[in-house]
Amino acid sequence: MGLRPKILLGFLILATMLLVAGGWSIYELSNIGISVQRLLDDNYKSIDAAKSMTEALEREDSAILLLLLGKRDEGREILRSADNSFEKAFETARNNVTISGEQGYVEAIRINYDTYKKLWAQNIAGTAKEGDLNWYFSDIHSSFLNVKSAVKKLMDLNDKTMYKTASNLEGRAHRATMPGVIAIISAFIFAVIFSFLVNLLVVSPIIRITSGIHDYLETGKSFNVKIETTDELSHLASSVRSLIERSKL
């Protein structure tokens, strides 16, 4: 192989190492971006919906207590608004099922909430149930806790998945930075080896050829430079040798 392709090969190798490392880092970084987006879309949305549902449930519980105190209009108004908020948040959660097992939790919320809603949808204020705290604790409150617990399960599932995804992101960040580190170390080592070989197999023979010509011109010492490689430098040495032989004739 000639000198030009050899030197070009050296630089190409350096460039390839850095390019691939750079490309890989970009790929991993863009994946981190996608993962963060997914984290927000898939998990955070569901967690937010679960929080809204819990809040709505708390408001409904307060409204039921108002109904038990006989404040029908005020209680019904809060119930209507809280129910709307709950349904809206539930729709968000239902349309954002992204984790395995999440569907089951969403269905459990629906079933428990329907049971709970049936209890407070009936007339309370102005009936025998008004002021009946026993009825509240035996029926309403336990049903309220069931819905709340189902919502909490959904939130926990998404919390755990979010933590897992975030932990994976740490690994991805490591994978995005390490190729760069390895490429820098490799490029440095390669540069040292490359310069050593260029010095040994290119620069050094040129110096020896120059010195051989100089010795011939100064002292008439025969040109006896041996070049190990079979490239332009060995051709140059043999050309110089031929030239000197001819000039002797």
């Binding site: 192989m1 050899k6 090969l9 050296g10 190798i13 390839t16 190492m17 691939v20 490392a21 890989w24 690994g171 490591h174 994978r175 390490m178 190729p179 390895i182 490799s186 080592i189 390669f190 080896i193 490359f194 050593f196 070989l197 040994l200 197999l201 190990e228 490689t229 079979t230």
Partner: protein, 479 residues
């Protein structure tokens, strides 16, 4: 010393590693796991680093012993360095120190691991982990010499430097033929064991990786519980058979496979090796029967596997030998130090040196009885010269001193003596597991960072038979 020539041959070693990295990357690709990019990128680096000096530097007709020696030792170090790159790139439990430990442990066929959850590592990386065993088992240089068409005198110098001086006696062929024989036995045993394990119900991946680890007497398993994961008597039996075979000199195995079965049982070293294993298994079985295992069949089953696994320097496990009585543990420690025959893939002091050791003692006693007698040590009718005898005894002494110093250093870091001693002996002998924190069902993750570096030094010293690595650091004084 011509460094560019050394670079050229190290380049070839890197290309060999690159080919195994590529196969591992292909496995990762088909398995769609996160090991793909780390393996591919390392493969690329190894190829570029390997191909460049190979193209740039013209080949040499001859190399000096010193150059050959430098090529061999540097090849091991460079292979261990390139071997750690995919681990570091992948991350997880692999810090720089852990990746170096795992890589050195792989190439030196030690089989000690820092991984607490092996099954969490992608399959491609697990394959690479086992492949390091297989490359290192037969010797990196032997591998290259068997692949390259002809390296003439250079091959001879490299071969002489790579192989144990004790092993040479069993090979009376030319270098090229000897290498072919070694590779024939090595590859043949690997294929046979893979098929046998698949017949016993293992899947292809597990069968190949376990065969790599068995024939190289390594011990890396892709399962957290090692061979105990399978709870299978046929699998254990197959592995026991191949562990025993891998501990025998490959030259002798070849002669045996060629039809001369008597040669195997005529060899004093083989008789000593098999006899010691048999006695070890029997004693361990008697000791653990009743205390650990109520049934004799279980006592023999577990004793056979553990003793043979350690006695061949493989390091697979089917049970927690930390729970065994002290006698059985000391027995295991003895085998951790001795291991199997030279000329095999085994580590440790080696049975050959043990045989010479006992002959030297016998000779010394006779000398006391008959001070003027001219005595000559003979093994299988071959006279052993005093130089070989002295070198073997000195090796044993140096070996014990290094294990002692290493134990001292690890103890200084706050580790208990049993863990420190067994870890030092197990890494020096390229065995794998020890006792205490580094027992058969645990790993080396709890050893301090500096301790891990010391233990990798032990692994390399053991693999390069001490003098190899010591001479490398004293190259300047080698005129």
């Amino acid at each position: 010393m011509r460094y560019h020539i050394i670079l050229r041959y190290i380049g070839i070693i890197l290309l060999l590693n690159a080919s195994f990295l590529f196969v591992s990357a292909v496995i990762s690709f088909f398995n769609n796991d996160s090991g793909l990019f780390p393996l591919l990128y390392t493969c690329l680096i190894a190829t570029l680093f390997g191909a460049f000096p190979f193209i740039f530097v013209p080949s040499a007709e001859e190399i000096s012993n010193k150059e050959g020696f430098t090529i061999v030792v540097t090849s091991w170090l460079i292979s261990c360095l390139i071997g750690m790159v995919p681990y570091v790139l992948w991350g997880g439990e692999f810090t720089a120190t852990n990746a170096w430990f795992e890589s050195v442990s792989g190439f030196t066929t030690t089989g000690s691991s820092i991984l607490t959850d092996i099954e969490n590592v992608p399959l491609g990386l697990l394959f690479w982990r086992s492949a390091t065993h297989w490359i290192g088992g037969v010797g990196i240089i032997i591998f290259v010499l068997s692949v390259l068409p002809s390296m003439g005198k250079i091959g001879m110098v490299l071969y002489r430097t790579e192989t144990s001086p004790l092993a040479a006696a069993n090979f009376r062929y030319r270098t090229k033929k000897t290498i072919r024989i070694i590779m024939f036995v090595y590859v043949g045993l690997t294929i046979l064991e893979t098929i046998a394990l698949m017949v016993c119900g293992m899947n292809v991946f597990d069968a190949v990786t376990h065969s790599f680890a068995t024939i190289a007497t390594g011990g890396f398993s892709p399962k957290n519980a090692s061979i105990a994961h399978y709870h299978s008597m046929p699998i254990e039996t197959v592995i026991i058979i191949f562990m025993i075979l891998s501990g025998i000199n490959f030259g002798l195995l070849f002669v045996t496979l060629s039809g001369n079965i008597r040669a195997l049982f005529k060899s004093t070293v083989v008789k000593f090796y098999l006899g010691m294993l048999a006695v070890g298994v029997a004693l361990a079985a008697v000791n653990i029967h009743g205390t650990i295992y109520p049934l004799w069949v279980d006592a023999f089953r577990y004793a056979a596997f553990q003793i043979i696994s350690i006695g061949t320097s493989t390091g697979f496990a089917t049970t927690d030998s930390n729970l065994w009585p002290p006698f059985a543990q000391v027995l295991i420690l003895f085998f951790t130090l001795q291991c199997a025959c030279s000329g095999s893939t085994s580590g440790g002091i080696k049975t050959d040196r043990s045989v010479l050791f006992w002959h030297a003692i016998k000779q010394r006693i006779t000398k006391f009885q008959h001070p003027h007698a001219v005595l000559k040590t003979k093994v299988d009718g071959v006279a052993i010269d005093d130089d070989t005898l002295d070198a073997s005894l000195l090796f044993i002494a140096l070996y014990i001193v290094i294990v002692f110093l290493s134990t001292l250093a690890i103890c200084f870091m706050g580790i208990d003596i049993m863990t420190a001693f067994s870890a030092s002996a197990a890494t020096m002998g390229n065995v794998g597991p020890g006792f205490g924190l580094v027992g058969t069902v645990s790993n080396f993750s709890q050893i301090p960072e500096l301790g891990k570096w010391i233990l990798t030094g032990d692994m390399l010293l053991g693999r390069l038979e001490i003098y190899g690595l010591l001479l490398f650091f004293l190259l300047k004084s080698w005129k």
